[in-house]
Symmetry: C2
Subunit: 156 residues, 2 copies
DNA sequence: TCTATTTCTTAATCTAGATTAATGCATATC
DNA sequence: GATATGCATTAATCTAGATTAAGAAATAGA
């Protein structure tokens, strides 16, 4: 049971690094956040005592989030694979990753960027569902989606 | 390995029901969505072939999402507890639930409602972090958060 | 096949929240 | 104690996307 003390302001992870660890917060307060193209910070989640904080991406993939301490804290460190190797857990982990990206997109991207991201996340689905459902997924109205698509064509 | 055919338009779950099942999509296309206070639908996620779709809430708690088929589909049905009983998986499940609520809030709630939800999700944390971090979590600017708080006081 | 209903697009107007900017408070630093 | 540096609030202006409305295109139902 590996344990670690971290001082306020100290980082456990920086976006772009590889990290196979999950942090269980024993005391203190951590946060994870992303930085968008304009350099703006978006707090993804807080983790006070009892919470778990980690990047949902697989250990061999570059992380998306920064994780640092807002107060002096103590965390227990565990490996990501302990879970993902277990039977039937992989789908959970996948869902977590999709949701993490979804939150980041909702927080930091414009309608047009979210549309691009939808196309990547669900290749081929745009052809199988009505436009109003895509709009509903993106969090915009069908009217706004029409505008987005028109702009995408003119700008490309 | 229980399997089920569902016709386009058929529901696997309606919000408010109890549901201990997880659906693995073998063929076809499903979606999950929430309905907000104004009656507006917000698609939470799509699930084409190979994806898993489910409500992240515990089996004994009322669900938040509707799940229905956008195309005739075949799903494999599994129980939620199979996973949650496994060691170290509970934190994953908790994180999934928090994220599911977070996405729903980002999609369907105003800044003021998201602020209320933040206070419930993280009791006491508002007193431990600067305002600008709360704003960053809510997806708004510190200036907008000031307005939200002022309105909250005058309206209560 | 011919309606009828739903879906998609375009355009005009409106609004929540962004941006910019100025001011008052704290908390550090010397 | 004086002076930065960062944080919170207020107000004026701006903008992405919402709302409303109307017409065109697609789908479904008889």
């Amino acid at each position: 049971m590996k344990q670690k003390k971290i001082k306020r302001g100290e980082f456990l992870q920086k976006a772009g690094e590889l990290n196979s660890k999950i942090y269980h917060v024993k005391s203190g307060l951590l946060r994870s956040y992303s930085i968008d193209a304009k350099g703006k910070e978006h707090i993804f989640m807080f983790a006070p005592e009892g919470w778990v904080i980690a990047d949902s991406c697989p250990p061999e993939v570059q992380t998306n989030l920064f994780i640092d301490a807002l107060e002096d804290s103590i965390v227990i460190i565990r490996e990501k694979d302990i879970q993902s190797e277990q039977k039937n857990v992989q789908p959970l982990v996948n869902r977590l990753l999709v949701l993490q990206k979804r939150v980041i997109m909702l927080m930091s991207a414009s309608a047009i960027e979210r549309y691009e991201h939808f196309i990547e996340t669900y290749p081929g689905i745009a052809q199988r569902v009505p436009q109003k459902m895509i709009a509903s997924y993106l969090g915009i109205t069908p009217e706004a989606l029409s505008n987005v698509k028109r702009k995408r064509i003119t700008n490309k």
